[in-house]
């Protein structure tokens, strides 16, 4: 039996025709729908952004209410800067995920967009993760240095150097773990999807490349 033969029986109407879906059924059905990876990523991003903003704003307000002076300004400024960076990050991620959820284009165009978008998203996430630890350590050190500089007895150069060296050492060890850990985690979560998309794009390209 060939595909040609199957075509004839494929298009025969089903014995039991599917009942029409009503508006209420459709809405109920969609409420239950969990969606695929992109939908899950969108939900997670909204959730993360909500939790982050719910924590950051009160923290900033409470902190400024109880602390004054140049160090308090430095702390608040750092937190505000971090908030701006994170807001930009979530804005970019949500915009990208919204683009990835679009399914009206051709199959190849859709696969290309998904592949490029997922890679862009992971690259963005990876860079942000790598920048977080050095940024945090730098912030800790600058707070510590600020406190030392404000000491009435004058700052202790040797202590500053020792803390700096200690943070550098701890930072190097932690950063190595973060690099390998993040790569492993990203590969585990998204590697199979990227490999699959890449393979599918190659499949669509294949005949044109070899036969033209």
């Amino acid at each position: 039996m060939e595909l040609e033969d199957l075509r004839r029986q494929w298009q025969q109407p089903e014995k039991a025709a599917s009942p029409a879906i009503t508006s209420a059924e459709l809405q109920a059905l969609m409420r239950r729908q969990r969606g695929g990876l992109i939908e899950k990523m969108r939900r997670n991003t909204y959730w993360e952004a909500s939790v982050a903003s719910a924590l950051v704003v009160p923290t900033l307000v409470i902190f400024l209410a109880y602390n004054h002076g140049p160090l308090a300004v430095l702390y608040a400024g750092s937190l505000a800067l971090l908030t701006v960076v994170m807001a930009y990050y979530y804005y970019k991620v949500i915009r990208l995920l919204r683009r990835l959820a679009e399914t009206t284009g051709s199959v190849r165009g859709h696969l290309e967009r998904l592949y490029a978008g997922l890679r862009q998203l992971l690259r963005f996430y990876y860079r942000l993760t790598l920048a977080t630890l050095p940024g945090a350590l730098l912030l800790i050190y600058s707070f510590f240095m600020g406190k030392e500089l404000l000491r009435p007895d004058g700052f202790r150069t040797s202590l500053l150097a020792e803390v700096g060296a200690g943070l550098l050492l701890v930072g190097a060890v932690l950063q190595t773990a973060v690099v390998y850990g993040t790569r492993w985690w990203m590969h585990r979560l998204y590697g199979q999807h990227l490999d699959r998309l890449e393979g599918q794009l190659r499949e669509l390209d294949e005949p044109a490349k070899t036969d033209n």
Partner: protein, 168 residues
């Protein structure tokens, strides 16, 4: 989803529901997976519907095939992990129920379904559009490749199916 589906959307969904079910039938062996895929396709159709603009040279079915295939092929979800209670062959038998006036034995039809199930998701898209009797220009439009590419690929898919049937 904030707004209720429009009457036009429900009417179109009713008209094209068999088409969506056929896509799900080709892509999912498991009944639960099939239902999940059907819901996901309907969800995407509903989301895209407000942006659908009827054009004289573009059919609604083309738009619909694009969305259904995009969802089915790029179904970026963890594949069902539960142990398969029904094998591919059993499911192929289920799909190959005797059809009135069919010149072929159910065994032959089941073997062909089982062979199709072994194809990749992209190859299944070619098979589906072929079974749906879509012309090459529409296939090219749906898949986003050239007509020549469609011809070559279609030929290769048929060759693959022949080989799979011989090995079975």
């Amino acid at each position: 989803m904030a707004t209720a589906p429009s009457a036009e959307f429900l009417a179109a969904l009713h008209d094209y529901q068999p088409l969506v079910r056929r896509v799900c039938r080709l892509y999912c062996q498991d009944a639960d997976d099939r239902q999940d895929l059907f819901q996901e396709i309907v969800l995407q159709l509903w989301r895209a519907w407000p942006r659908y603009v009827p054009q004289p040279d573009a059919k609604l079915s083309t738009w619909l095939y694009r969305i259904a295939l995009n969802v089915a092929i790029s179904n970026l979800r963890q594949r069902t992990r539960r142990p398969a209670s029904v094998s591919v062959e059993d499911e192929a038998w289920h799909l190959a129920q005797p059809v009135e006036n069919s010149a072929y034995e159910p065994e032959e039809t089941a073997a062909l379904y089982a062979a199709i199930n072994r194809l990749s998701d992209v190859d299944k898209a070619f098979v589906l559009l072929y079974l749906e009797d879509r012309p090459y220009d529409e296939m090219a439009d749906i898949l986003g490749i050239t007509q020549n590419n469609v011809r070559v690929k279609m030929h290769r898919v048929q060759e693959k199916l022949r080989k799979l049937l011989v090995h079975n």
